[in-house]
Assembly symmetry: C2
Homo-oligomer: 437 residues x 2
């Protein structure tokens, strides 16, 4: 007896069948189209890198999750766990070949050996976009605007981008003599939405004592218009600063583009990652606030500091594709389609296979994706097959397949149009309203 290997995949990894892969590709194509319309260009980097490059000076949580091993040559290598670290290495390595400001995007898979019990995947796709080599507020704003346009373009619905400025927060912390504990404070505040106000207060109290903890809570809980909130932040920080000027400039840009309603100034947004130094932001879908941020990022002033003396500053953001798809599905904003081909050509006689392909070629040239059926089954079976595959139309060839006349069946309506010429079939298919029923 033959012994079979059980066909199975690793936990936290996924196969994508055509229906879900087409959905992903449609989404990625829309995202790319948006990036390209803004003049962002794609790059790619290796999936595998030296562990030293990816881990830098070593980092607790990351080090535990990374897929790391020794290759045939005994090199210590690892799968990338994000697209930011490889981009930093890329910038340091190719600095002289790039024209700054450099606007790039990178859509690719990354791997983390996370606990899958929390519904996390170990293989997932990130869509990163950054502008490096510009300190201008116009760069901050372009990333914010691009987040908004991209999410609108994919039909994510009404959204709110909450932004803050880490530098201004730090000025406030210095003012209350808590500047040295800024990294810990930022990390605690970052968890506010997750752990709640009470626990945040307790953790801050442990770190700073009651009075200063209350001051921090007061700062991060400010609510109101962008202008009022910013006024309060400036008072708390002791007056106008370059950071607050930047936030005013961003508000002007929002007004001049008619996008102000999409943005909220939220002093509790800090982002956990250590490399951010300026504006930071998260994006929430108004219809699904609980799903968390679907697109986040911020400004950094020394991205490639591990690899190069040259300070490379910039601003960027990242869309988590899997979370975004989950969000769109929860809002029923995706449609499942199983094929790109709206038309199928039925197979009547095996020896006419070439003629069917010739006919299909004419439809393809007219811009109609067209699948040729390969086996001479009963017509009713071929209609069922076409329906399963997601085609809308079937051509039933006649005596002279390449030229016609033939019958065009609209599957969902069970309606046949007979004695059609090729030209008329093309016209009917192209002019049909979008939905089959």
């Amino acid at each position: 007896m033959a012994e079979f290997i059980t066909p199975k995949i690793l936990k936290g990894f996924r196969d994508f069948l055509p229906g879900s892969e087409i959905k992903r590709r449609d989404l990625v194509e829309q995202i790319e189209k948006s990036f390209r319309a803004y003049g962002f260009v794609p790059i790619d980097t290796p999936v595998l890198e030296y562990s030293e490059i990816l881990l830098g000076k070593g980092g607790g949580e990351t080090e535990k999750q990374i897929y790391r091993f020794h290759d045939h040559g005994g090199r210590d290598v690892a799968l990338r766990f994000d697209l930011t670290v490889p981009f930093a290495r890329f910038l340091a390595e190719h600095r002289s070949e790039l024209t700054l400001p450099f606007k790039r995007y990178h859509i690719a898979k990354v791997w983390r050996g996370e606990n899958t019990q929390r519904g996390r995947y170990r293989e997932f796709t990130q869509c990163d976009f950054d502008i490096v080599g510009s300190d201008s507020p116009a760069a901050d704003f372009e990333i914010l605007l691009l987040m908004r346009s991209t999410l609108s373009a994919i039909g994510a619905g009404s959204l709110t981008i909450r932004l803050n400025h880490r530098g201004l927060f730090n000025r406030f912390l210095s003012k209350i003599d808590a500047g040295e504990k800024s990294p810990e404070i930022l990390r605690i505040v970052d968890k506010l939405a997750k752990i709640g106000r009470e626990e945040t207060g307790r953790l801050l109290g442990e770190l700073l004592g009651e009075t200063r903890a209350q001051a921090v809570i007061g700062y991060i809980e400010a609510k109101g218009s962008y202008e009022d909130t910013l006024g309060g932040m400036i008072r708390a920080a002791g007056g106008d600063t370059p950071e607050s000027d930047r936030l005013w400039m961003l508000r002007r840009f929002m007004n001049d583009t008619g996008t102000a309603a999409s943005f909220t100034l939220d002093p509790s947004i800090t982002r956990g990652l250590d490399y951010y130094t300026g504006v930071v932001y998260e994006t929430f879908l108004n219809g699904l606030p609980d799903i968390g941020s679907v697109c986040s990022g911020g400004r950094y002033d020394n991205l490639a500091g591990l690899y190069s003396r040259e300070k490379i500053s910039g601003v960027g953001s990242s869309i988590g594709l899997d979370r975004l798809i989950a969000a769109l599905e929860a809002q029923e904003k995706t449609t499942e389609k199983n094929t790109y081909a709206t038309l199928a050509i039925a197979c009547i006689r095996e020896e006419d296979g070439g003629a069917y392909q010739h006919l299909a070629g004419r439809f393809r040239e007219a811009g109609i994706a067209c699948e040729v059926f390969l086996e001479t089954k009963k017509l009713t079976q071929q209609f069922i097959l076409a329906e399963k595959k997601g085609a809308r139309w079937v051509i039933i060839p006649g005596e002279n397949p390449p030229e016609g006349p033939f019958t065009l069946r609209e599957i969902a309506r069970r309606q046949d149009r007979e004695h059609l010429s090729w030209e008329n079939a093309v016209r009917i298919i192209k002019e049909a309203p979008a939905s089959g029923l």
Copy 2:
């Protein structure tokens, strides 16, 4: 003093800068468009799989090249080294969710720890397309036709697809009492182009003795029209067989689609891979025969045999993207472009950053990809930047940036058109002939 980590990548791996990544993506998009027009649908599978799945019963050459390690959970895992084995596993695992015949494509990276001295990469991209669940010659032909259309669509120029039938070859080998040594013979013949006629004869002589070796050489060296060659093969195999009938049927399909001139029957094509059992083929660019086959494949009768009792037959092919790009570059059939944005908007005053984005948004809505410059440098410097980035046009905003009038500069011609309305600028950009000069 700070110590830096040298930014470098692994040998055999590559970064893709925007110019080459745009070229790759343009090519992949054209390939996908061609696949989709034929009704082929995309799937995706994990980069990492159980080693047992990928290696099956263990295979010498593959086992030495595969990136294999133990993950955090102690699982024996590996990076995929092709897209065929994961597809076989996918078919066995998802058989009940798929409608046969199933036409799928998969474009993705694979990894092999090959010797890089031969100019090979350790990370490279494959474009696989297969039809499974049909034994019809129409399926064989559809793959052949799709190879031809896809390579034509990307401008690979005149090409020859050389095909053969392994089953017919085996009938001939049985006829000369060499049937049992078929796998070794196929492997030797597969290397004919690489090792030459003499060495092939010597190796066959060692295996079969002089007389039978000469018979094999005679069989594989047949030249002439498709019809003459097939006639000779049938005589050598002892008469008509289902395999030769299939080759006749394919010829009929070629004639009926007007594509016969692209196909040659070549009895020396065998393909080294063990799973092929029927028609096999390789594709050569007539302008660059030395680069070898850019697209190869064949028919198999039991792809998922390692994982399932159910025999899954099919036919497929694979484009090696890297070799194809090298071929196009050698024929100077690729153009380097560094951006998708043809238009840049110059930055005159920092505080007008929002107004520039508003203006850019109007161009983007009109279908013109448009980059906004972020820093107030001298105009001449902005023109140089636009040229470096590959934009063709620059808008120089006036007093009222969103509305105009403004100046439109065509960079390569150093030509300014002044006092333009937005509508006129759109018209000029859209109606300009394709080349800037």
